[in-house]
């Protein structure tokens, strides 16, 4: 799975982009976030307050209940501030 991080999520996680082997237990965005929270200090900090974490799967805004699979591109970011 390709994962991208933007803005302060990128800064806290300490990484802009990575390709991971998705654990078989992870089938939704919510489960992916739980897994991220246990990957180390930076990730724990990035995902500490999930109320301000937004997610896109394959470049579409989705909710935390959205399914994820190994071939997806998943992006984590704060609420957008376009315009």
């Amino acid at each position: 799975m390709r994962i991208l991080y933007f803005a302060w999520l990128r800064e806290k996680a300490g990484i802009a982009e990575e390709t991971i082997s998705l654990p078989q237990t992870v089938t939704t965005v919510a489960e992916l976030i739980e897994w991220q929270q246990q990957r180390g200090e930076g990730f724990a900090e990035a995902f500490a307050d999930t109320a301000v974490v937004k997610v896109a799967v394959n470049q579409e805004h989705v909710g935390f209940d959205h399914p994820v699979s190994a071939k997806d591109e998943v992006a984590f970011f704060p609420p957008v501030t376009g315009g």
Binding site: F6, A56, P78, V80, T81, G82, G83
Partner: protein, 162 residues
């Protein structure tokens, strides 16, 4: 038409291109967003816009398509810059051309409101205290929420207004 670019743009030329040769255009409405030198009480030296390129293209195309289903429009233009910008610099330009002024004005308003909450951009402000990420504002969510009612020329919900 959608343009995502680091470079500045020529507003006069863009507006000219939007309606030139199309004698059915009766009104063109546009909005230009600029970097201010202040955010609240804090002075801003510069603002860096980060974005998610593959998603930006998709999100802007979706916003354009949505506007076209709601209003009878001849042309739409969205230009969004990224990278480091300074106070006074243009950030974003949206424009809508229609036979009728009301359609052009409402569509333009819709485009900028939806960009604020749908387009994957993030802003890092350089202040005397260091860099700070701009928070999404709940007023922007409300402004975008006014347009949720589907249908052409849908009325804004006054209860949801700022």
């Amino acid at each position: 038409m959608i343009k995502v670019q680091a470079e500045d743009f020529d507003v006069g030329r863009e507006l000219e291109n939007l309606s030139s040769g199309n004698l059915g255009v009766g009104g063109v409405s546009c909005f230009i967003g600029l970097v201010r030198d202040m955010a609240g009480d804090e002075s801003i030296q510069a603002m860096t816009l980060e974005h998610y390129p593959e998603m930006t293209e998709k999100a802007l195309a979706k916003i354009e398509a949505e506007a076209r289903t709601r209003w009878p429009l001849e042309e739409i233009l969205i230009i969004h810059r990224y990278g480091r910008l300074e106070p006074g610099d243009r950030i974003v330009f949206v424009a809508a051309a229609s036979a009728h002024r009301e359609a052009a004005i409402e569509a333009c308003h819709f485009l900028i409101d939806w960009l604020k909450t749908q387009a994957p951009f993030w802003k890092l402000e350089e202040t005397p205290d260091g860099g700070q990420w701009v928070d999404a504002r709940s007023s922007d969510d409300k402004a975008a929420g006014r347009w949720v009612t589907a249908g052409r020329g849908a009325e804004k919900d006054p209860d949801a207004a700022e």
